[in-house]
Symmetry: C2
Amino acid sequence: MQQGSDIAGEFVERWNAAAEVEQTGTCPVRDVLDKIGDKWSMLIVMYLAAAPKRFNQLHREIPDISQKMLTQTLRDLQRDGLVSRHVFDTKPPSVEYRLTGLGQSLIVPFGYLIEWANKSIPEIVEARACFDEIA
Amino acid sequence: MQQGSDIAGEFVERWNAAAEVEQTGTCPVRDVLDKIGDKWSMLIVMYLAAAPKRFNQLHREIPDISQKMLTQTLRDLQRDGLVSRHVFDTKPPSVEYRLTGLGQSLIVPFGYLIEWANKSIPEIVEARACFDEIA
DNA sequence: CTGTATCCCGTACGATACTG
DNA sequence: CAGTATCGTACGGGATACAG
């Protein structure tokens, strides 16, 4: 029960520190969480974790993403140094995206979260059912 | 480099499985990520990780959250079984919120993510600077 | 003290059309 | 193939006022 305290303390500290920066910039921790929370970033990272892929290859594997969001999300990931972009000057141009070292390092902690999610789903579902029943 | 592959595979599998459920319900993994991504859930979890707290106590410690979002976020966390709500029938009513076992178990994997974020911030910031400079 | 109800706005995202 | 540009919308979330 006390295991998380240090982590929690540091987290809150970081968060508040950023709040005092006022509009200058946002909290670095929130920054990361926002990416994780947005609709496509992590899905793309996971798809790229398997192997480097080309633009349309990703598009085919993730059919329900719009071209706009695929481009935009890849740009954001690239900007943050999680993904690198390689243009091949072939006849029809082709562009390959791959995880950087930083991007690959994200997979580990993110994996723990997925593991937690998968393990906890039954309990969450049950909690919801119980909660909704009463309400 | 290959460490994340299994995790990634399972993740993508889960994700797609939910996509096929069509509008019935959303992906369980996405479900969790959405909570982590939303503006206040994880901050509140971290604040409650230190100790159980009352409504206004939380409100005071997180001054920039609106009453609406504090209430709403706490309800969501309660619904998912991450937080429990205890009403004390005192003269001015008081309500205490505390993490459930499930809620506490989230702190561990989430902590890894925070750790990663903190460790990676310099690299991300540099990547951004580099990216923006070129553009 | 612990909420609920209402209004309002920014933006994340999708759909569609066009380009080198 | 790999994008960019434009438009429209749904919704997260803030501000404010009210209530038990």
